[in-house]
């Protein structure tokens, strides 16, 4: 049928900021789609508020709008760009919902924009629970018995019919937010009420619980000629009851016969046809009763999903790219399979390995959460591992997690499980948690039978037996006298079962180096197989490899000098898509410069793990052993460790020093090591806040005595301010130190040691924090990327703080000083490549907080704001080029002086963790970021707020709630005055009300404290009377009123400003927006204006 010629311009909507349930898989899909559509000659217009994405690189679309994803903004973009079509199926639930909103608002009709991929009717059939259920029953598929409720009365009537237990799911939500299981009437009332509140249309589905059943997923593609293929089948190791995004999943399906599988396949096709997904990828989920094989269909996503990303990486089939081509009219048989080149895409990939995905959670960042998995997704990232068998695959996945495990137990991280008694363990495996897999293994080690364990956990006996094979071999290894007694055959079996050298070292109490030497002495080396979509039936052209221990390795010799780029591993809070952006850019830049690039990563959501991003892709854990294995076969001329966050940086010391490109590992250490760093600052002549290191509580108290409170406590070698705290007295300091010890949250990451002490600094109150990103070449020349002024004051983690580029309030002389110090520090550390320096400016005086000779989280933001491709430049500098070379090439332009303002705002996941306090602090807790660009700092800030959580409600919509800490009252009143001028009404806590009134402002309601009777703040919030909350807290104490207010705001989705600075910026933006109409500008336009 070929591509459609009746459309020219296609609008693609991205998924916005990274949030739980919607992560960088949509950068992967959007990037593939942009490339595929432009390849076909279409003009692509992209809208996405997330600057950290690769898709928003100006190179990937003809017009790239980093603007808030709202109907108003999209309408403006449509008006400016006049697209012929809108492709809504590659930007997650966000894009799908926006497309529906645009349809309902009549915008698409008004501008004659056609929805391609899936039409409104199909989207609503798939998304509306009741419609979906009716549609499935109509085509003869079974669904769990259920009913839909819009009120609590309706809800109660439904369980009268169905009985308990039931699952409650709100309509139109992503990642299962607000979903829950209820087994008792009390639980039911609670969960149903939450669900009704979470659904934007106050609708919940109540259905028969099928918890404990087996769960399967099929990834389906359909073209407009009704050709349908299954790309990948997936089996969940965790039974029904744990959200599939939080489940350990395995591809392909392991425990269904072909007879049963074909039933699912037919059902999936029938489902797509009935729903009416015209073209593209969809995900269909089934539950199967393990006792009698009864199949029920659970849900379908009429769009590319997280599972599609996994399926693409698991099979080598580029689902998003193909989905984009199908949307513009191609049929599957018209599109060649990229990997074989010879065969068409109208086939079903087969694999000859096993893929395991394990999610990664961040419960340790949210004190108060219970860490129990359920039907609402809570993970922040995931890893995928490929092995020839499940034992090998699952062990590789465990060590990819970077959660202290070097495999399935048999590592120091198992101490926690060894310490549990049998009864605790039996109770624990019944509940889905991040630890369950490891607890299952520990149970098997203690001799719990597979029958009993299956009964307790409902995990399928096949999986349990496979885990048992690993555990039994572990016990065999433990019984060996020394590593020298292992024969070649023993080694082969050990490695084929996925054991890392580190596990063998742990079990035999030997050093890792000795173990590796003993293994290599027997000639047992990793072999590399290829992911080829066809189980070797056809020759593969794509060098996409994984390691295993077999007879034959398939790595082909290279033709050009190779540079290896170590990726950033699983997404987690503090280390996410920003680093993938940097790695991908490095790969692009180095390929362009004539190198062959070798990417190593284990995160299936990313663009870096697309087989065509680099010349060679190794889907492998990023550990010393795995990386050395690849170095051995690839023989790179260098390895880049400084673009993937802490994951690769931690390995720098363990790799051959001559291979580490850019800044030397010794300089990386010098920046991390307290004493060396202090010496560097002294030599450069910049003041630091006073401070020292400590290992135990008594040392810490001594330091505090010297420097005084408040003090900032932070562990070394962590990213994202992991476990960082500001303490105001001895009690808090002691508690913080305990929390950092072996038993605390850092325990599983190795705890504290002389090599990893805690840093304790004087906390500079009221200081402005500033970030500077720069690059330096081997000749000593330096280029500044950007100077960013934080909206929140120092003490809020930079990753959680909004920041503005260029700095709006700093004097030019101060900015010059910051840039000069950055240059001196970079020179002193002999940086080659990227450096990020964080400063605190207190009353005009500059302090250096820290310097990191690696790519920072802000690199993509700076690049988008200034047009300067920082990561590409950094990669080239590390590979030997000078800044002058790059200027001559045109990669680096003149120093940018943007005529506009860019604001980066963090997006926080508090709505996912109702029990955690929605308070910002020195430990980073945001999952993602957005960017707002406009002609003034206020308007840009306002856009960033809209992008992060929706527009700030106007004065007619509700009151502003004020609750200010004493130290904030003076400045807070200034902000309040502006809000009052705009016509907002005020509600305030008693003390704040007093202060506001004293300043001549009117407070409508002074609310009582919680529990004192009367309508408190939480009640006003839930009733919708309060629509903006300004609540500035101090410290991290016991749960006070402020916690509840912030939590309620976070749950309600009410805009929450927790610093005076943010309130001031918002006030400024609101004032300006009252007189200036909304304007949207593409990055291409902005960058041109700068040139």
């Amino acid at each position: 049928m070929g591509r459609r010629t009746d459309i020219e311009t296609i609008l693609l909507i991205g998924s916005g900021p990274i949030v739980i349930g919607q992560a960088c898989e949509f950068d992967y899909s959007g990037t593939q789609a942009c490339r595929a559509l432009r390849e076909e000659g279409y003009r692509v217009v992209l809208a996405n508020s997330n600057p950290a994405t690769i898709m928003t690189d100006p190179d990937f679309a003809d017009a790239t709008y980093v603007e808030p994803l709202t109907v108003e903004v999209l309408t403006a973009i449509i008006e400016a760009e006049r697209p012929d079509a809108l492709l809504p199926t590659l930007g997650g639930q966000t894009a799908l919902n926006l497309a529906m909103d645009l349809v309902e608002a009549g915008v698409l009709d008004r501008y004659s924009v056609e929805l391609i991929g899936a039409d409104a009717e199909a989207i609503s059939t798939a998304e509306d629970r009741q419609k979906f259920k009716e549609a499935m029953i109509e085509i003869g598929l079974e669904v769990p018995r259920s009913g839909v409720a819009h009120t609590m009365d309706e809800a109660m009537a439904i369980i009268g019919d169905i009985g308990l237990p039931v699952v409650i799911r709100p309509a139109y939500i992503l990642g299962g937010r607000g979903t829950g299981i209820a087994s008792t009437p009390e639980e039911f009332e609670h969960v149903a009420a939450n669900g009704l509140a979470a659904s934007p249309i106050s609708e919940i589905l109540i259905e028969e619980s099928i918890a404990g059943w087996k769960e399967f997923e099929l990834e389906v593609m359909r073209d407009r000629a009704d050709n349908q293929v299954i790309i990948c089948s997936i089996e969940n190791l965790d039974p029904m009851g744990v959200h599939t995004g939080d489940s350990i999943t395995v591809a392909p399906i392991q425990t269904l016969s072909d007879v049963e599988y074909q039933v699912l396949r037919d059902a999936a096709f029938a489902c797509l046809r009935r729903v009416g997904v015209e073209t593209g990828g969809s995900n269909v989920q089934f539950a199967v009763n393990p006792d009698d094989g009864r199949v029920v269909i659970i849900e379908m996503n009429p769009r590319v999903s997280r599972s599609s990303a996994l399926a693409s990486k698991a099979t080598g089939f580029p689902i998003a790219k193909i989905a984009a081509k199908l949307a513009v009219g191609y049929t599957l048989d018209e599109i060649p399979n990229d990997i074989t080149k010879k065969t068409p895409s109208s086939f079903e990939p087969v694999i000859d390995y096993v893929v395991t995905k394990i999610p990664r959670w961040a419960f340790e960042k949210f004190p108060g959460t219970d860490g129990v998995l359920g039907t609402s997704m809570q993970s922040v990232g995931e890893v995928m591992a490929i092995g020839r068998t499940f034992p090998e695959s699952v062990q590789k996945a465990c060590r990819s997690l970077e959660a202290g495990h070097t495999g399935l137990n048999a590592s120091a991280a198992e101490a926690r499980f060894l310490a549990m008694d049998d009864a605790e363990l039996a109770a624990a495996v019944a509940v889905g948690t991040p630890d369950r897999l490891f607890q299952l293994a520990e149970s098997l080690r203690r001799g719990v039978t597979i029958e009993d364990l299956h009964h307790q956990s409902k995990v399928d006996p096949w999986f349990l037996d496979q885990l048992s094979i690993v555990v039994e071999h572990r016990q065999w290894l433990e019984a060996q006298p020394t590593v020298a007694s292992l024969s070649r055959a023993d080694w082969r079996r050990t490695k084929q079962l996925g054991f890392s050298d580190a596990q063998v070292a742990y079990l035999l109490s030997e050093s890792g180096d000795d173990v590796r030497a003993a293994r290599l002495g027997h000639g047992v080396q990793a072999t590399f197989k290829t992911v080829d979509t066809c189980a070797a039936e056809f020759e593969a052209n794509t060098p996409y490899h994984y390691s295993t221990y077999e007879d034959e390795s398939e790595v082909r010799p290279g033709t050009k000098p190779r540079i290896m780029i170590l990726g950033s591993g699983p997404n987690r809070i503090g280390q996410g898509i920003e680093f993938d952006y940097c790695c991908v850019h490095a790969s692009f830049a180095l390929r362009d410069a004539g190198f062959e690039t070798v990417m190593v990563n284990c995160n299936p959501e990313t663009v870096s793990t697309d087989y065509d991003t680099s010349d060679r892709l190794y889907f492998e854990p990023i550990t010393e052993e795995d990386v050395l294995n690849i170095i051995e076969v690839e023989k790179p001329i260098g390895v880049i460790v400084s673009l993937g966050g802490q994951t690769p940086l931690k390995l720098a010391d363990r790799l051959p020093a001559e291979l580490v490109l850019g800044t030397a590992p010794s300089s990386i250490d010098a920046a991390e090591d307290r004493d060396q760093w202090a010496a560097v600052c002294d030599r450069v002549g910049v003041p630091q806040p006073p401070g020292a290191t400590a290992i135990g509580a008594s040392e810490a108290l001594a330091v505090a005595e010297q420097i005084g409170y408040p003090a900032l406590v932070r562990p070394s070698y962590v990213l994202g301010g992991r476990a960082m705290e500001i303490v105001y007295d001895d009690v808090e300091l002691k508690r913080a130190m305990t929390a950092l010890g072996q038993d605390g949250s850092l325990g599983r990451e190795g705890g504290l040691s002389a090599e990893r002490p805690v840093l304790i600094d004087r906390f500079l109150e009221g200081a402005i924090e500033v970030d500077v990103d720069a690059v330096r070449d081997h000749t000593g020349a330096i280029a500044i990327g950007g100077v960013m002024e934080h909206v929140e004051e120092a003490g809020i983690h930079s990753g959680d703080s909004a920041c503005v580029l260029p700095p709006p309030t700093l004097a030019p002389a101060v900015v010059d000083e910051l840039m000069a110090i950055t240059g001196r520090l970079a020179a002193e550390l002999d940086v080659v490549g990227p450096i990020n320096v964080q400063f605190a400016v207190q009353r005009g005086e500059v302090f250096v907080i820290e310097a990191n000779p690696r790519a920072s989280r802000t690199v993509p933001f700076v690049s988008k704001a200034t047009g300067r491709p920082m990561a590409k430049v950094a990669a080239r500098l590390m590979a030997g080029a000078s800044l002058d070379d790059l200027r001559a090439e045109g990669l680096l332009g003149p120093d940018p002086h943007p005529p506009h303002w860019s604001v980066k705002e963090a997006v926080l996941p508090f709505n996912r963790f109702p029990a955690a306090d929605a308070l910002l602090g020195p430990e980073m807790r945001s999952t993602g970021e957005v960017m707002g660009v406009d002609l003034t700092p206020g308007l840009a800030f306002l856009k960033s707020q809209q992008a992060a959580g929706g527009a700030l409600p106007g004065p007619d919509e509700g009151a502003v709630f004020w609750s200010l800490a004493d130290r904030d009252k003076e400045e807070g009143i200034e902000a309040a005055r502006v809000f009052a001028e705009l016509g907002y009404r005020f509600v305030a806590t008693a003390g704040t009300a007093e202060a506001l009134t004293a300043a001549g402002l009117t407070v409508d309601i002074a609310v009582p404290k919680l529990g004192e009777g009367g309508r408190d703040a939480v009640a006003l919030l839930s009733d919708g009377e309060v629509t903006i909350v300004v609540n500035t807290p101090r410290g991290r104490g016991a749960r006070a009123d402020g916690d509840y207010i912030r939590t309620a705001a976070a749950q309600q989705g009410t805009p929450l400003l927790t610093t005076v600075a943010a309130a001031k910026a918002a006030a400024m933006g609101l004032t300006e927006s009252a007189t200036s109409p909304l304007q949207v500008r593409s990055l291409q336009q902005l960058h041109q204006e700068m040139a």
């Binding site: 392909p252 049963e260 068409p344 079903e348 499940f390 056809f538 007879d551």
Partner: protein, 367 residues
Amino acid sequence: MSEILPAALVLADGSVFEGEHLGAVPQRGIASGEVVFNTAMAGYQEIITDPSYAGQIVTFTYPHIGNYGTASDDNESRGTFTRGIVIRDLARRHSNWRSEQSLEAFLIGHGVAGIAGVDTRRLTRLLRDAGALPGAFGPLVGDAATTIEALTAAAAAEPGTDGVDLVAQVTTESPYQVGSGARRVVALDFGIKTAIVEQLASFATVDVVPASTPAAEILARNPDGVFLSNGPGDPTQVPYAIATVRELLGQIPIFGICLGHQVLALAIDGSITKLPFGHHGANHPVRNERTGEVEITSQNHNFAVEPESVSARADITHINLNDGVCQGMALRDVPAFSVQHHPEASPGPHDSAYLFQEFDRLMATGG
């Protein structure tokens, strides 16, 4: 699993693969045959019991085999005809509510030998490049221990499937009847799969008759149509069947699958070639040339029809999109059509099941 018996597989080109013995102990300790691979990720029992694998050793490219055990409903014939299986990993424990016994017990019960622990991807790549090769495997220790030398000799002596009448080994000895539908079908059994019989029996009374049944005897059963079944090996080795079909052409509607398709081609003086390593899997895209639609098909064949050789009398109706091999034809002058792939699936997708309805329609109209 009981104790591990080291074993080896040796191919006719001298390649040696280490592994462990599994299943039944072969006679004189050696199992030999033509080594092929199948890429289906599930359906091992159907493959092992498919008579088309007579004379062949099947390598499974999916590493975990035996996960869901075996169920008698999934047998594709009265026994097993494969010479052995080569796998990466045998499930120690199986799990599925339909399962009646483990794969290992099933193999021992049916006298099928196997070798596990093999780098099956290396073997597959070798077969892909060299084509299907004769090979032999067996345990290197234990009562029936053999040696690499003996295996090498056995591989060299193995004739492969060219020029051998394997159909005679698998066809039914005497006719039998299945189903009670209004339509009457005589199925020539070249190694017919149970799933085909069941598909036909869903609308017809089916007489399954030995491959050597002459045309007159078939017509004497007064059928509405004749079905030519799948079966093993080289179609030129069943000249008696080709002659039968030639005689039947024009007298009665005919539908052929797999070997039946090749026999039909030979009956109209078409020619057959041997593919380098055949098509064995459940994911092959086939385009229906009449509708333009793509079917994902189950395939198991080493020989294929040369399209030009039949073009005088037949239209090519189906093409394999991977390599352009002819997958189906319809005769223009008489009511007869055939496909190379397996519309009965088992294992594999159901996309082509409509072909049975087409046969039903053809019989209804008499062509």
